[in-house]
């Protein structure tokens, strides 16, 4: 019953956040579009057959459209009706492009962020449970090196080794998530009840699993949200350099071609995904905290 209440509250909060965040993004994009160079230009103005009065009329009509509130309301109305616009560079409906590509990005995000989170958890757990100095040193060295590399460079190295986007994403997520997990698990293992368990002769793995892990579980679940957000931030350069035909690669190509309908849709889609993932992680973390309270 309590779990159902937590889930309902989270769903309500998620709906509220999406209802505020997505229109704000559209409004900000419309405002930027209105002040962007070339907004009041139209290809028709280059037609030499048109008179100067007609060209002036076309320019005035474009000027009258310079209203961010009206633009964003019209766009959101079209989105609600299922019309996501047409790509200016690819000449295809945005909805169709999204349908063809979303699974590539979703797979990379789930496997990549998941693999990064699991690897970090395994490394931090082994180091905390068994106090493996060599592994700690190796993990620290790998973390330091990977954190100092831009994600596009990580992607280039993984592509050199014929790896996929998911592996590159795991390499980007691992060092940042490992640092949090190492701190959380080391603190959990230095708790009095864990030291007591070890002192009474309980094997380190059992003491870790039964005494330290439950205390650290809510924070470890919350770190999964951090992993997902890191993945969403890094997916664009990674898909671009690895040449994976996903939504993020589409966003990059749209940015190069100033294809605003596609870029705006991908931004909204990934913002909605980030908000949803954060809400799910918050709910999971609250549930775990309640269960172990």
């Amino acid at each position: 019953m309590r779990l159902a209440r937590i889930a309902l509250a989270s769903a309500w909060s998620l709906a509220g956040r999406l209802a505020v965040r997505l229109p704000l993004i559209v409004l900000a994009a419309s405002a930027l579009l209105c002040v962007a160079p070339g907004f009041d230009s139209d290809e028709k103005m280059l037609d030499t057959r048109l008179s100067s009065t007609t060209i002036a009329g076309i320019r005035d009509a474009r000027e009258r459209q310079r209203d961010p509130l009206r633009m964003s309301a019209e766009y959101l109305g079209r989105v609600v009706r299922g019309d996501l616009g047409t790509s200016a560079t690819l000449g295809a409906p945005v909805a169709q492009l999204a349908r063809d590509r979303w699974s590539v990005t979703a797979r990379a995000l789930v496997f990549g962020a998941g693999a990064g989170w699991l690897t970090a958890l395994a490394a931090a757990a082994l180091i905390a449970a068994f106090r493996l100095r060599t592994l700690r040193f190796g993990a620290a060295a790998a973390t330091t090196l990977l954190i100092c590399m831009p994600s596009s460079l990580v992607g280039l190295f993984v592509a050199l080794l014929n790896g996929s986007v998911a592996w590159a994403l795991a390499a980007v997520v691992f060092p940042r998530v490992y640092q949090y997990m190492d701190r959380v698990l080391t603190q959990a293992c230095s708790a009095a009840h864990v030291k007591m368990a070890q002192a009474t002769g309980i094997p380190p793995l059992r003491a870790f699993a039964r005494a330290a892990m439950p205390a650290a579980l809510p924070e470890l679940v919350a770190v999964a949200g951090i992993a997902a957000n890191l993945g969403l931030a890094a997916i664009v350069p990674l898909e671009a350099v690895c040449g994976a035909p996903g939504l993020a690669e589409l966003a990059w190509k749209s940015a190069l071609g100033r294809d605003i309908p596609v870029l705006l849709f991908v931004t909204l889609a990934l913002a909605a995904a980030a908000t949803t993932v954060n809400a799910v992680v918050d709910t999971a973390s609250a549930s775990v905290r309640w269960r172990h309270a």
Partner: protein, 271 residues
């Protein structure tokens, strides 16, 4: 650890000195093309070889270091200033206004940052002057990279305004502006300094990512990012290890900044 921090500081000082003196140290202008010696391996006249247009890689590396290292602090200063202003406003206000400001900040920070950067950059023409592309890239980074410190600044501002010395200063009739600039600012300085030092490497990496994607600094002006982009052709990369020089320099500089910022954060925590 102190020795490591000192070593990193010396390395950063050297890197910045080289970046500032790029015009004096570079043997050739970064845009000069020697078409007869295109795609050459390292030699005496071109220590890091030439690219496919015959431009000296070492000169481009020196100028690229200047672009990346001198503008990242400027962008970070802008982001930190915005975070300070918005955080102080949130900390000074109460009730619905404070909740609205923080809700807006959460909304901004909840948007995938890199996509927002991509969207903003795509709305500007891509075929701009190189100097304008540099200014645009770093202005965008500064304008979008501020939300993460706002809550901390707001919490510190609220705590400072509840402290006894603040209340006493107010009771003595000190004007609000002086209260903020003298009493609150002193408490915010460590947080803002920590934000500055930890954000600078993030901005250097973000500029590198944008430039690799062709959305950062435009040619012919080099930056560490668009120099790394040459690595995209794997066959060339495997046969020409000297192409790694910009990547190694970037990793070294960002690593040194991380060590220095960690040390500064620890000293602020102890203070």
């Amino acid at each position: 650890m102190k020795a490591a921090r000192l070593g990193c500081l010396l390395f950063l000082a050297l890197a910045y000195a080289v970046a500032a003196g790029a015009s004096l140290l570079a043997a050739h202008p970064y845009e000069r093309q020697d078409r007869e010696r295109a795609a050459e391996p390292p030699s005496l006249s071109y220590p890091l070889g030439t690219d496919e247009l015959g431009r000296d890689r070492l000169s481009r590396l020196l100028y690229g270091t200047r672009t990346s290292l001198l503008l990242a602090p400027a962008a970070t200063l802008l982001a930190t200033s915005i975070a300070a202003a918005v955080g102080t406003l949130a900390g000074c206000t109460r009730g619905a206004l404070q909740r609205s400001v923080l809700y807006l900040v959460d909304t901004v920070s909840g948007t995938p940052w890199f996509l927002a950067l991509l969207l903003a950059r795509a709305l500007l023409p891509l075929n701009v002057d190189a100097a304008l592309s540099v200014a645009t890239t770093f202005l965008l980074l500064g304008a979008l990279g501020w939300p993460h410190a706002v809550r901390l600044v707001a919490a510190r501002t609220t705590a400072a305004m509840r402290s006894t010395f603040y209340i006493q200063a107010r009771a003595c009739g000190v004007r609000p502006l002086r209260l903020l600039s003298v009493h609150v600012a002193a408490r915010l300085r460590p947080v803002l300094a920590a934000h500055f030092w930890s954000t600078m490497p993030v901005f250097i990496l973000a500029e590198a990512n944008l430039s690799v994607l062709g959305l950062g600094v435009s040619e012919p002006l080099p930056s560490l990012g668009n120099l790394i982009a040459e690595f995209r052709d794997c066959q060339i990369a495997l046969a020409s290890p000297w192409l790694l020089a910009p990547a190694l320099l970037l990793v070294a500089v960002v690593g040194a900044l991380q060590v220095v910022s960690r040390g500064l954060n620890q000293s602020y925590d102890c203070a």
